[in-house]
């Protein structure tokens, strides 16, 4: 059976899985962003907290995904919840790191002039520092999203949603006529999601970055 035949036959089902896969990625990245940017904002200014937050989120990314899923299941059970938590953990490092970097490279003269005009720290953060750090932060989010698309496939081992299910099913039926097209079609879906998300981020970054600091 060829890939084209397989796609024609299983198209609807594959489309459903692709949507599922994209959804879990988007939800995880959204959570990573909220948590990661918060951690970055809270820790970027002082050396020790900053190092600790980068070290911990860095360690997350080095835990093999199978092992992490294995650790989460006893606590959160099989299924989407464990999968999302794992993906959120993987997405944190690029977002925390870029938030910290983006905030730290804001020109001190800009901050001094803001303070000198009587902007409080809250206003300075939301009106000046975050908008200026935003192009760097959104690059971090984009990296997190692309990492997460791949790792999400493995979440199928703990009954997670998405295209990973088909990859594992095909692996279990290795040698049958449909196993190769099934695997290929899942990979194709993942690539399509990754490319679309990447493009979407280029577009969103342009849309949300001030014209004054766009490259």
């Amino acid at each position: 059976m060829t890939l084209v035949d397989y796609l024609a036959d299983q198209g609807d089902r594959l489309f459903g899985l692709t949507i599922e896969h994209a959804m879990i990625v988007l939800i995880s990245v959204a959570l990573s962003t909220i948590i990661g940017v918060t951690i970055g904002v809270l820790t970027y200014a002082t050396a020790t907290p900053r190092r600790i937050s980068l070290a911990i989120t860095g360690v997350f990314l080095t835990i093999p995904s199978f092992a992490l899923f294995g650790l989460l299941v006893p606590i959160l059970g099989l299924g989407t919840r464990s999968a999302v938590v794992a993906l959120v953990m993987y997405g944190l490092l690029p977002i925390v790191r870029n938030t910290v970097t983006g905030l730290r490279i804001v020109d001190p003269a800009i901050i001094e002039s803001g303070q000198g005009m009587g902007m409080g720290s809250f206003r300075l953060l939301f009106r000046i520092k975050l908008p200026l750090a935003w192009p760097v932060i959104i690059t971090g989010i984009r990296v997190a999203a692309v990492i997460t698309v791949g790792i999400a496939a493995i979440a199928a081992v703990i009954n997670g949603p998405g295209l990973g299910k088909d990859i594992f099913r095909a692996l279990a039926r290795f040698g049958t006529p449909t196993s190769v097209p099934q695997t290929l079609s899942a990979i194709l879906g993942i690539i399509i999601i990754a490319v679309l998300i990447d493009l979407a981020f280029v577009f969103i970054a342009r849309l949300t970055t001030s014209r004054g600091i766009r490259a």
Binding site: I110, G118, R123, S210
Partner: protein, 405 residues
């Protein structure tokens, strides 16, 4: 009595800013960056803090708007002790301009200028008209620059926008830390002149930091020469600092050529102008000849219909019959206005073949000239002044009669 005893603290009207025993010791440093500074800054004056790099000028400025909290001492603004009021509210009453400008790159020029008015809750209409007023005031056309981003402006234009932003809520006080320090000399000169003209109308109390004594002399109503630890070596008018430096430190800092520098303090309008014979472009040759003979000068200045200087004509030029008056001789150069300093007029004069600078009014019409004799006369007067002043000071310290044989 000359102000021998009043060098640090002006008497009379209540000062706009009074610093009392202001001290800052940075953590881990043995010596204070600012050491028990007492200083009064009078309303409406430009006070220059000048001194070698690292002497504590910037720290002093940041203490005034409390970007740095003092270790001890007090800051009194308009009679009110502001040493422990809410610093953000304090800073909205004090304009702040730094060398790097620090415009917000992600905001348009108009949003940048609107920063403080927005925080103060002004309505949109008022903010918009204030922004346009300020842009015009600093020489940036509002319709052109309002919606531009800082990256689209040149260095000089950014500094103008920075000044507009600092003036936005009409603060009584402005702190300017080397505002023109990063700007090329020609643009800097223009910005300085424009700023002085602006100050004539806005009359702010300005504390202005520079490490350039020439800028200090040009810009200051009063100059505080600082040594390490923001210690005042002399606090006086530019003229007094130039003619009677308090000690060797000040004399060294002011440097050689003090009398040449003093020329920058006198303006063309302060000296008597020298008159040359003049003639209109439509005059006849015999009229011009008559004007020339009637004066002791060797040339006639030809003026156009609007009395603007056009050409210099010497006697021998008149011998040429083939050209009209307006094309004889050589063009009138070295033209200055009355507000220009004698130093600048001298510079112009050096370019002129006749050896004088032509003074014109705002419309460009001829008023007279300044020549080398005027300038050297002024230098002599300034020297005489300085001699008398130091003699007067000697007498204060050693009154005649005591110990005199």
């Amino acid at each position: 009595m000359p102000d021998m005893t009043t060098t640090h603290v002006a008497n009379g009207a209540e000062p706009m800013i009074r610093l009392q025993g202001l001290t800052k010791v940075f953590p881990g440093q043995a010596r204070p960056a600012v050491d028990s500074l007492d200083m009064d800054i009078a309303a409406g004056e430009i006070v220059i803090l000048v001194g070698p790099s690292g002497c504590g000028k910037t720290t002093t400025m940041r203490l005034i708007n409390r970007l740095i909290e003092p270790t001890s001492g007090r800051i009194i603004l308009e009679g009110e002790d502001v040493t422990s009021v809410n610093p953000d509210k304090l800073r909205r009453r004090i304009g702040y301009v730094i060398q790097q400008v620090g415009l917000f790159p992600h905001q348009t020029i108009s949003d940048n200028i609107a920063t403080v008015p927005k925080m103060l809750g002004w309505d949109r209409k008022r903010i918009r008209s204030r922004v346009d007023e300020l842009l015009a005031m600093v020489g940036l056309d509002p319709s052109t620059y309002r919606d531009r981003y800082p990256k689209h402006l040149s260095g000089g234009q950014r500094q103008r926008a920075g000044v507009a932003r600092a003036l936005s809520a009409d603060p009584p006080v402005m702190l300017m830390d080397e505002p023109f320090g990063a700007i090329d000399p020609i643009t800097r000169d223009r910005l300085q002149n424009e700023f002085l003209r602006l100050q004539e109308t806005i009359r702010k109390t300005i504390v202005f930091v520079t490490h350039d004594i020439d800028e200090a002399i040009k810009m200051g109503d009063r100059i505080a020469i600082l040594r390490e630890g923001s210690q005042i070596a002399q606090y006086d008018t530019p003229a007094h600092i130039l003619s009677a430096p308090a000690d060797d430190f000040v004399a060294d800092f002011v440097g050689s050529g003090a009398s040449l520098k003093r020329l920058n303090l006198s303006r063309v309008r302060d000296v008597e102008l020298v008159q040359w014979p003049t003639a209109g472009v439509s005059s006849s040759r015999s009229e011009v000849m008559a004007a020339l003979r009637a004066s002791d000068k060797g040339a006639v200045l030809v003026l156009d219909e609007a009395r603007r200087p056009a050409r210099w004509l010497a006697g021998q030029d008149l011998a040429r019959e083939d050209l009209p008056l307006g094309e004889l001789g050589h063009p009138a150069e070295a033209i200055v206005q009355p507000h220009v300093s004698l130093g600048d007029a001298l510079n112009e004069m050096l370019k002129s073949r006749v050896g004088c600078a032509i003074v014109v009014d705002e419309s460009g019409a001829y008023l007279g000239t300044v020549d080398f004799a005027t300038v050297s006369g002024e230098i002599q007067a300034l020297r005489r002044d300085a001699r008398e002043r130091s003699r007067a000071q000697l007498e204060v310290m050693h009154p005649a009669g005591i110990g005199d044989a």
